[in-house]
């Protein structure tokens, strides 16, 4: 019997722990000069260092250190005056050295926090998620599993390895345990990752695309009875590839744990994989016997000791904090809270701002992105950002409407056309022959034609039955292939039929 979420949170309280990995957007890899460009032919961006050929040695990428310090500063961390790299030893074919150069007990940033805001039954509520540490490490190569049914590792006959990705700089951000979220744990988790993503995007240190893997989240969840002190056993969920998945994964794990505990069972400490299609997790490697990583200081690299001057230099380059930016935009655009939340949740804030910067009125920009374009995105089940329409396009369309060259209705056709790939707004207008019929003469001709054809309805209107005008307006619109301004038509029609055009 599946428990309901309400049942779960009535009895248990969740404790979260989130680990986020960020792929930095440096030009070269963490420890060598190979390019980091995405999508290259396999094994064309490798060298003795990232292939771990005998005799090769790592050298630290300065920009990666800078980016990591900036991340730490943006997360309110202290920057360690002395930090060291360490070897994390374990064997896996995608990790050429069979150890990962990472950081162990001397990470570069410690003790920070991120404030998030979520919607609760009692209105908006703030949560402070404390950050334990931020450290640097390197990414692994990519494996293609061949021969199995699903291309996954289970049942594969053999694997093919591409080391282009091996050695790309990774930053790991680890939270302290997060208690006290109660039934809002899933929302807090999602909000945290979203805020982190916005901060990282604003810093410009990564392109933070969860679907592409440049931002990865592992969610740790445990339950304990409400009021209990001792922490429950946690499970770690990997393969969480979107914000929505973060929320679903946390919720799913809470329910799974509760069902186990209610049945008198015990939660196994293990790694689980999130499945997009079901929203459930599948058991992976058991961590009961945690692998002994035998950490020791990396002898091939010397310690990093950033001096105060350098840190302050980097601090000065930090951009406006996303939360502050959001407040500023809300004020300037005079947007009510609910709409502001809607924009943030739909992840269109940046797009709207871009459109406004190109000259559109904020309200119009909002209504297009949140309205028509959002609707189309939902229908197609694609993210708004992945549609073919850009802020430039929308700004142009809004301008055309303002100039009276398009009606709202016609503008919608143009939007459709741009998304369908027919080109830019001007191209769509030309190709489809979309044109507002402004010419009163043409309109009158159409109106007269329609009135002549629908004498009865026209008579009704003449007699003061205004609603009937609707049918006539519709007919006129049809006559003008939808290119007339409906409001103008109504005006002229009523005038023609001797009615006041109020």
């Amino acid at each position: 019997m599946t428990l309901s979420y309400d049942d779960v949170v009535a009895k248990y309280e969740p404790v979260l722990g989130l680990e986020v990995h960020v792929e930095l957007n440096t030009n070269s890899k963490m420890f060598c000069g190979c390019s980091t460009v995405f999508g290259a032919e396999p094994n064309t961006q490798t060298c003795p260092v990232c292939l771990a050929l005998p005799g090769a040695l790592p050298v630290v990428n300065e920009k990666a250190i800078e980016s990591t310090i900036k991340i730490g500063l943006a997360l309110n961390c202290s920057i360690a005056p002395f930090s060291r790299f360490a070897r994390k030893n374990y064997f896996y074919p995608d990790m050429p050295k069979n150890f990962q150069i990472s950081q162990y007990d001397e990470p570069i940033c410690v003790d920070g926090y991120v404030d998030v805001e979520i919607e609760t039954d009692e209105g908006p509520k703030k949560f402070r998620v404390e950050v334990e540490r931020v450290h640097m490490e390197e990414d692994t190569g990519k494996s293609l599993h061949v021969g199995g049914a699903t291309g996954r590792i289970h049942g594969a006959e053999y694997s093919l390895l591409d080391y282009n990705r091996a050695g790309i700089p990774l930053v790991e951000i680890v939270t302290k345990i997060v208690p006290g979220t109660g039934k809002y744990a899933p929302e807090v988790a999602k909000a945290y990752v979203a805020e982190l993503r916005d901060i990282l995007r604003a810093l410009g240190v990564s392109d933070v695309k969860m679907e592409q893997g440049s931002l990865r989240c592992d969610a740790n969840v445990s339950l304990r009875l409400i009021g209990a002190e001792k922490l429950g056993t946690r499970s770690e969920t990997k393969n969480v590839n979107s914000l929505r998945s973060v929320e679903r994964a946390v919720r799913g794990e809470m329910i799974r744990h509760a069902e186990l505990l209610n049945a008198g069972g015990r939660v196994v400490q293990e790694t689980r994989h999130f499945q997009e299609d079901t929203g459930l997790t599948r058991s992976g490697r058991s961590k009961e016997q945690a692998e002994d990583y035998r950490y020791f200081p990396e002898p091939d690299l010397v310690p990093v000791a950033p001096d105060a001057a350098w840190i302050e230099e980097l601090r000065a380059t930090l951009p406006e904090r996303p939360s502050i930016r959001r407040k500023r935009l809300q004020e300037v655009w005079a947007v009510p809270d609910k709409e502001m939340s809607a924009m943030i949740n739909a992840d269109v804030l940046d797009i709207v701002e871009a459109t406004v910067l190109l000259g559109s009125d904020p309200t119009k920009a909002r209504s297009w992105w949140l309205g028509e374009i959002s609707r189309i995105a939902n229908d197609k089940n694609i993210a708004i950002a992945n549609l073919a329409i850009t802020p430039q396009d929308v700004a142009e369309i809004v301008a055309l409407v303002n100039a009276g060259e398009l009606t709202d209705k016609l503008a919608r056709q143009v939007v459709e056309g741009v998304i369908a790939g027919e080109g830019q707004p001007a191209d769509v207008v030309a190709k489809r022959g979309i044109k507002v019929v402004n010419d009163d003469g043409a309109l009158m001709a159409a109106i007269e034609k329609v009135c002549a054809e629908q004498t009865e309805t026209a008579e009704k209107v003449r007699n003061g039955h205004l609603p009937a005008a609707g049918a006539l307006i519709g007919a006129v619109m049809k006559e003008t292939k939808g290119q007339a301004d409906a409001a103008r038509v109504r005006e002229l029609l009523l005038g023609h039929l001797g009615q006041a055009t109020s």
Partner: protein
């Protein structure tokens, strides 16, 4: 085991403290380590190493005699700090060079047997 100590003593005249074996590795301990190190050892090897280690560990455990809490460990012989490289792309190996040592390859990738462990 004792004969090693007698010989060493006679050769060097050092006062090697003959501690009672407080550290020893059983055959199973060695097997666990071999597993961690990904070496498939024969039964004979495991037993031999277990015996050898009892002697060796005693010898190396001497370091504990002087490794007081007030002594800082040395990871690097030189006091170097902050050695970096600029974030500049440098030509990589060609794929042919990269794959030149590969025991097996396919489609310009390294071909390896089926991997059992999870990612």
């Amino acid at each position: 085991m004792d004969c090693y100590w007698k010989w060493a003593d006679s050769q060097l005249g050092l006062n090697l403290i003959r501690l009672k074996p407080m550290s020893s590795l059983s055959r199973d301990d060695v097997a666990k380590l071999a597993g961690l190190a990904r070496i498939e050892m024969s039964e004979e090897e495991l037993v031999n190493l277990s015996q050898e280690f009892t002697v060796i560990l005693d010898a190396v455990a001497r370091v504990q005699e002087v490794a007081g809490a007030d002594v800082e460990p040395t990871s690097h012989p030189l006091p170097l700090r902050n050695v970096f490289r600029a974030d500049v792309v440098v030509p990589s190996l060609t794929p042919e060079e990269a794959l030149s040592g590969a025991p097996a390859q396919e489609e310009q990738r390294f071909r390896v047997p089926q991997i059992l462990g999870e990612e």
